[in-house]
């Protein structure tokens, strides 16, 4: 294989492999260096296998619907290990797909840990060093460990360990009611676990709209999931085969009754993988583990770029991919003179976030709470799923679509949808924001009846004071 490239990408996750393919599409000679498996956390131990498991959990939930129709549904023999096997199959298939795509686009693939020798050269463990005109660091992140709960992947699990379980824990405690904790809590609960989710903030999904999070909480509680909010886990004791997790209130640190568990999932955030790359010697500035970047994600070392979870933008696969495209297009414009990317940075107000459980929750941009707190001129309108024919017909009437807009211009500042298909229907509003359509455009566009997307149309109409089914 060659050792001279236009661009070398370190990390083959959704940031790195997309950056490498985009670079190759623009005529750059590109390679990608990965120390683990192509596809990164997302494909192997993240988004993809978890979606497979969530799908399986949904099937289990459908049993209730069949029973309501009079069917005798016998769930005995329900075997989580088969759901696990299916999730691995999906992950492996897509990981192979990434290898195929890299090859198809002429991107060289190297296995090994990379370390910068200079801003133009990296050494690769177990193979020849390579030189490149530009580098893109896309090394991602790993689960954050809490000192009181060292990971052993047996009793104290990371999300990776949790996704690799072949059986669900009988009693599970999950620290962190963010997307990861909620999604795995949903899966385990549907497969029969006794699940308790502990959150330090006073509500679940703390970065999401409070009303939307409340809809999710209510649905979880109806299925038997317990939440302890405003609580800190301070330590653990072994108790028999399991654990006893000690809790205190987050405010005045008063002890709460401990929780018994067979497994503890710690899902309290992720930390960037920025060490061991030789960045200090390059003069790349790193702040609290995150690599600092400027326009086009270039670091303080010229020609060295950083994207994805290793920089301090939202730790989401789609953000990494977009940042990968921007940096690759920038490098191509410098090396090949091709058109530079239109955007210098991802516009954070158009980053969607999605929580895939039942009900789903998806959002972007300014929340009503943040708008109120910052004093931005805005108006909020929320349309309930109860007023949407389709939602009622499919027996999913819980949820709403909420739009935050600027009444002076009609600009859509943010939106949240919670309920059936929320993660799909959010994109209409996101496209509207991105393309600078106003709420009028969404309100006036005919929507097929009956669809869940009508909730979006009605929310837009409501923003203009003319919702029909409210």
């Amino acid at each position: 294989m060659d050792t001279e490239y236009d661009v070398a990408v370190i990390g083959a996750g959704p940031g790195g492999y997309v950056a490498a393919i985009r670079a190759a599409q623009l005529g750059l000679k590109a390679c990608v260096i990965e120390k683990d498996r192509p596809g990164g956390v997302c494909l192997n131990v993240g988004c993809i296998p978890s979606k497979s498991l969530i799908h399986a959990a949904g099937l289990v939930g459908d049993a209730e619907g069949l029973r309501a129709l009079g069917a005798v549904v016998d769930l005995s023999g329900l075997d989580y290990s088969r759901a696990f096997a299916a999730s691995r199959k999906a992950a492996e298939r897509l990981s192979k797909g990434v290898q195929f795509l890299l090859k198809k686009n002429g991107v060289d693939y190297r296995t090994g840990a990379a370390r910068f020798a200079s801003a133009r050269e990296v050494s690769i463990e177990g193979s020849e060093p390579i030189r490149a005109k530009a580098f893109i660091i896309a090394t991602g992140s790993r689960p954050r460990e809490l000192p009181a709960f060292p990971f052993d992947e047996k009793a104290v699990l990371t999300s990776t360990g949790a996704l690799m379980l072949k059986a669900v824990p009988k009693r599970a405690v999950i620290l962190g009611a963010g997307a990861i904790g909620m999604e795995l809590g949903y899966v385990w609960n549907m497969f029969g676990s006794d699940v308790t989710i502990v959150e330090a903030m006073d509500r679940i999904l703390p970065i999401e709209d409070a009303d939307a999070a409340a809809v999710v909480r209510k649905a979880f509680e109806a299925r038997g999931v317990r939440f302890v909010t405003g609580a800190l886990a301070t330590g653990m004791e072994r108790s028999g085969d399991g654990l006893r997790v000690l809790l205190q209130t987050a405010g005045n640190r008063e002890p709460l009754s401990p929780l018994e568990a067979d497994a503890l999932l710690v899902a309290v955030g992720r930390v960037p993988n920025s060490s061991g790359l030789g960045l200090e010697e390059l003069g790349v500035r790193v702040e609290r583990g995150f690599i600092e970047v400027g326009d086009f994600y270039e670091t303080s070392a010229a020609g060295v770029y950083a994207i994805g979870d290793v920089v301090a933008t939202p730790l989401l696969a789609h953000v990494a991919s977009k940042e990968g495209e921007i940096s690759a297009e920038r490098i191509a414009s410098l090396v090949k003179g091709s058109k530079p990317p239109v955007e210098r940075r991802v516009d954070l107000s158009t980053v969607p976030s999605a929580v895939y459980c039942d009900p789903e929750l998806a959002s972007f941009g300014l929340s009503a709470e943040k708008a109120a707190a910052t004093g931005v001129a805005h108006a909020v309108y929320s349309f309930p799923y109860r007023g949407v024919g389709k939602a009622v017909a499919v027996e999913k009437p819980e949820g709403f679509a909420k739009i935050v807009h600027d009444p002076a211009t009609g600009e859509i500042l943010g939106a949240v949808v919670v309920g059936d298909r929320a993660t799909d229907v959010i994109h209409e509003l996101l496209l509207a924001r991105k393309a600078e359509l106003t709420v009028d455009d969404v309100a006036d566009m005919m929507h097929a009846h009956p669809t869940i997307a009508e909730a979006v149309m009605e929310a837009a109409k409501g923003s203009l004071g003319r919702a029909v089914h409210a």
Binding site: D295, S349, D406
Partner: protein
Amino acid sequence: MAESIVMIALSPTMQDGVIAEWIAEEGQAVKPGDALCEVETDKATMPYESPVSGTVLKIVKAAGQTAAVGEIIAVLGKPGEDWAAVIAGATPVAERPAAGPSAGVTSTEASFPALGPIEPTVAAPAAPPLSAPPAAPRASTASAPSSPAGASPSSPAGIPPSSPLARRLARDGSVDLRTLRGSGPHGRVVARDIMAAAGKDTVNADAPKSAAPGGASIGMASRGLRDERVPLSRMRSIIAKRLGDSYSEAPHFFVRAAIDMERLLELRAAVNEGRDKPIGLNAFVMKLTAAALERHPLVNASWEGDAIRYRPAADIGLAVSLDAGLITPVVRACERKGVEDIDAELADMVARARSGALKPEEYADASFTVSNLGQYGVEEFTAIINPPGSAILTLGAVSKEAVVRGDAIVARRTMRVTLSSDHRVIDGAVAAAFVAELKALLEEPALALV
């Protein structure tokens, strides 16, 4: 008979105007003085009032389009009359007994027709898009301000495609969509282009009012700097032309003085005692400048090429910076007004200038101009003369300086001023005598009573 309504020069320097919005609709009857549309000129947005009565038969220039002075923007007449014939047989503009001046636009612009070069417009691009069915005139492109989203993104003749939000922002801003090159997909004008043209900061589109979820965004070496070409706004191009012409045509020379402000500041404090709203220093300086101009009328003059016009009143402009550029509201006849009136007029005009509602006659034709950058802490600076005046006075910051009084060094609050003069009109000795007079008046305001 149906008659055409042409664009008139709504401001002295106006060569063309953008129809910001149609107020009258096709088919609507209007009387003289009714607002037909809002026209965005080089400095302000103004109503265009109908000079005649009749029914609006045809809107020729849709909202967002630009019309040169003299170009037909609409046809008025009796319902059913043939508007197309009027457009087809449009008489050259120069021959028309000007359709204006409209009622809302007073004397000033009547005296300025010469400044708005009137181009005999050849065939205003006949009727707008032929694709619009004649039976539904309201369907013509972008003619419905109430539903901006309805405007086609691939509009005709010279209007670049634009996003609905961009069009809304442009509707009330001072930005001509046609002058913009869109940075969106396929050259679409998007909100950031409008913001950039309006001089608003859009360094990072990351933060449109929002601190986005979970995301600290980080900037480094290049924070604030950008690699970008921003087309000129109308205000910016007019500033460029006027000041460029002034600086290249008028031979500037500069006379400076350091002024002891103790007395004037004491006087101002005394006047303001017990007042809810204190009178600003600018008003005092303008009043005393007017007194100095009365004593040195040679400075209150305009260059007219083959003559010098001495002006009968001290019409003093004050340079005011806006987001999009600068403007100089003029307080007429300062020599006859008290500081309270001057201050009130200034406050009113500055507020309206910031909202784009200053009328052209309120910022045109100063005989003398004052520019104050003292609030930025600058010691002194020079300015470019604002025609048709022949001199401009700059004020630096008032700060304590060590000065010699008798044989002692004392700290005195001092302001440095610089007078830029047009040497074609004002000789060095004249400028020096004026500055000396002004210094005396500012240092001992009581002299103004003498």
